[in-house]
């Protein structure tokens, strides 16, 4: 078997990186804040390779022009970002985090908002990928509808950079891999069989709005206001420190004073941001706003 002609011209990573690849890396970084260090350039090269095959483009130089000079450059940039930001996720991916949300975080948020006239909860799934996370959150809210959230309205905002992922999310049809953690109860209550797949039903699809958002787009980030909780799991791993800091600062501003930020299992704000305070919940961690107290002075 021979290698596809479009890939033959892509150089290997031995030796100094290809200048055109470095140029593409810079374009991606400037547009989306996603930085590929030298040891990840092979991954970027592979993603570019997929687009080059699609466009029947032979060289990286030519492909770089598709991204920067040609009239369709904006569309091509989105197509390449779609290739770069394909996420791996599933329903109920991090059960301890969800348990902590339901049993500890929601009661604290409701308590903080108890004196406000507007009984509304706003949760943002930032980097929602193909939708499993926001639908999971919606199902949890529905479970609490007649318990903690009686008389409360809930709204889930789900955003991602990847248009293809968002289209998948809105279609809401999932295979066995991403539905592997579903209990029979959730499966029966919130899904409809579609051949050998499952579709999220209308109830669990209600009160969620999906939209495309670039976390590095400062002007749009400024408008994501009044959040009670933000979930941004395994998204910031794509960002370099400077971009990460900017995004986290936006999250800090987007959250209400009692707000919570949840990151992925192995992620930390250590060395990224000093404004958020780390809290340990059973089996999970989160970051809270709230006033700082001197070390050793308990406030909770």
């Amino acid at each position: 078997m021979t290698t596809a002609p479009s890939l033959r011209s892509v150089p290997t990573m031995d030796g100094p990186p290809e200048p055109e690849l470095v140029r593409i890396r810079d374009v991606i970084y400037q547009t989306a804040g996603i930085f590929h260090p030298d040891n990840k350039l092979r991954l970027l090269q592979d993603r570019c390779g997929r687009r080059m095959k699609e466009l029947k483009v032979q060289t990286l130089r030519e492909y770089s022009e598709c991204l920067t000079i040609r009239p369709t450059r904006q569309a091509e940039l989105i197509a390449l970002l779609n290739e770069i930001t394909i996420g791996e996720t599933s329903f109920f991916r991090n059960q301890p985090q969800l348990d902590a949300l339901r049993r500890i975080v929601i009661p604290k948020i409701l308590e903080a908002k108890s004196n406000l006239p507007l009984r509304r909860l706003r949760i943002w799934s930032a980097g929602c990928s193909t939708g499993e996370e926001p639908y999971t959150l919606r199902m949890l809210m529905l479970e609490e509808l007649n318990v903690q959230l009686k008389d409360w309205s809930t709204e889930i905002l789900a955003t991602d950079l990847n248009e293809r992922s968002l289209a998948h999310a809105e279609e809401a049809v999932y295979g066995s891999y991403s539905t592997r953690n579903l209990t029979p109860s959730y499966r029966n209550k919130y899904f409809i069989p579609q051949g050998d797949k499952l579709q999220v039903n209308a109830l669990a699809r209600s009160n969620i709005s999906f939209s495309r958002l670039n976390l590095s787009d400062d002007s749009r980030m400024t408008f994501m206001k009044s959040m009670d909780a933000i979930f941004c799991c395994n998204v910031l791993i794509y960002f370099d420190l400077a971009s990460k800091r900017r995004v986290i600062q936006h999250f800090f501003n987007n959250l209400l004073p009692h707000g919570y930020l949840f990151l992925g299992h192995s992620e930390s704000l250590f060395g990224v941001n000093d404004d958020f305070r780390l809290v340990h919940l059973p089996g999970a961690t989160a970051y809270v706003k709230g006033e700082r107290t001197p070390a050793g002075g308990k406030s909770l």
């Binding site: 500890i104 604290k108 250590f270 780390l278 340990h280 919940l281 059973p282 809270v288 050793g296 909770l300």
Partner: protein
């Protein structure tokens, strides 16, 4: 006399006439004394001989030497091999860990002894790791302090099993820390009973302080840093699933715990420590 004082009195009386708590396995005391010498003076054969006096302990040490907890890549076949490959301080860590396991009753009516042991071992490992990362004193001492901090629970399990069971069930039912449940239902905590046993066994003063004050490090007088370190390691373990067999329904901010400020006075490296990602 209130019910709580009566229970405390009962505890003291029972502890006085106590025969059922197994003592530290006989071999451990001489072994620990021997290992306190400078490492250059230690003799592998002597350590092996001391350990071999207790066959079941020797077997457990060998098993644990082969476990991933102690970072073994190759299989260790002989006790001598275990002693050599683990270095002497690990041998004392392992021997003490097995010793704690041997002290536990087999009754699983309340806190499962294995779950308790896992918490103790977890706390020992986390304490050692924090001590290493922030350059705090002797990591081996931190390990031992983490391992023995809940000695009082062993006392409670043996001496007042029914009363302790009620306290544990209250803790589980309300999702509150065990020492708070003990205080509410028995009028004293495992810190009090642990202190009694620690003093009777004439444990090192720093260990007695850790056992007595790991839920209130600000009360410790001499070894505040070590007590504070174990308080934080204990909290981390309990919040991360290495708990007493139930989930504490609460949110903990380590930086606001009294131990955090106290430990910061002993180590400037604490500010460079990532509590969200404690890695081994």
């Amino acid at each position: 006399m209130t019910a709580a004082t009566a229970t405390k009195q009962a505890l003291l009386q029972r502890l006085d006439g106590l025969h059922q708590i197994p003592t530290i396995p006989a071999v451990l005391a001489p072994l620990l004394r021997y290992l306190q010498q400078p490492v250059e003076q230690l003799d592998v054969q002597k350590v092996t001989d001391l350990l071999s006096q207790d066959k079941s302990l020797a077997e457990q040490c060998l098993q644990m030497a082969n476990s991933p907890l102690f970072g073994r890549a190759q299989n260790v076949q002989s006790l001598r091999g275990a002693v050599v490959s683990l270095a002497f301080h690990h041998v004392s860590d392992i021997a003490m860990s097995c010793g704690v396991l041997n002290m536990l009753p087999s009754d699983k009516a309340s806190l499962d002894p294995v779950v308790f042991w896992e918490h103790s071992l977890g706390c020992a490992l986390v304490s050692r790791q924090i001590a290493r990362k922030i350059n705090f004193g002797d990591p081996g001492k931190a390990y031992l302090a983490g391992l023995l901090h809940d000695l009082g629970i062993i006392v409670n399990l043996w001496v007042l099993p029914k009363e302790f069971r009620a306290a544990w069930e209250m803790g589980k039912g309300e999702g509150i820390p065990l020492h708070e449940a003990e205080q509410k239902s028995m009028g004293f905590t495992h810190c009090d009973s642990g202190r009694l046993l620690g003093e009777r066994w004439a444990l090192a003063p720093e260990l007695i302080e850790v056992i007595s004050y790991h839920h209130a490090p600000e009360k410790s007088a001499e070894h505040t840093g070590l007590v504070a370190l174990v308080q934080l390691a204990d909290l981390l373990c309990r919040m991360s699933g290495l708990n007493y067999g139930y989930v504490e329904e609460r949110q903990v901010n380590l930086a606001e715990e009294s131990g955090f400020g106290l430990l910061a006075q002993h180590s400037t490296a604490l500010k460079d420590f990532d509590w969200a990602r404690l890695t081994f």
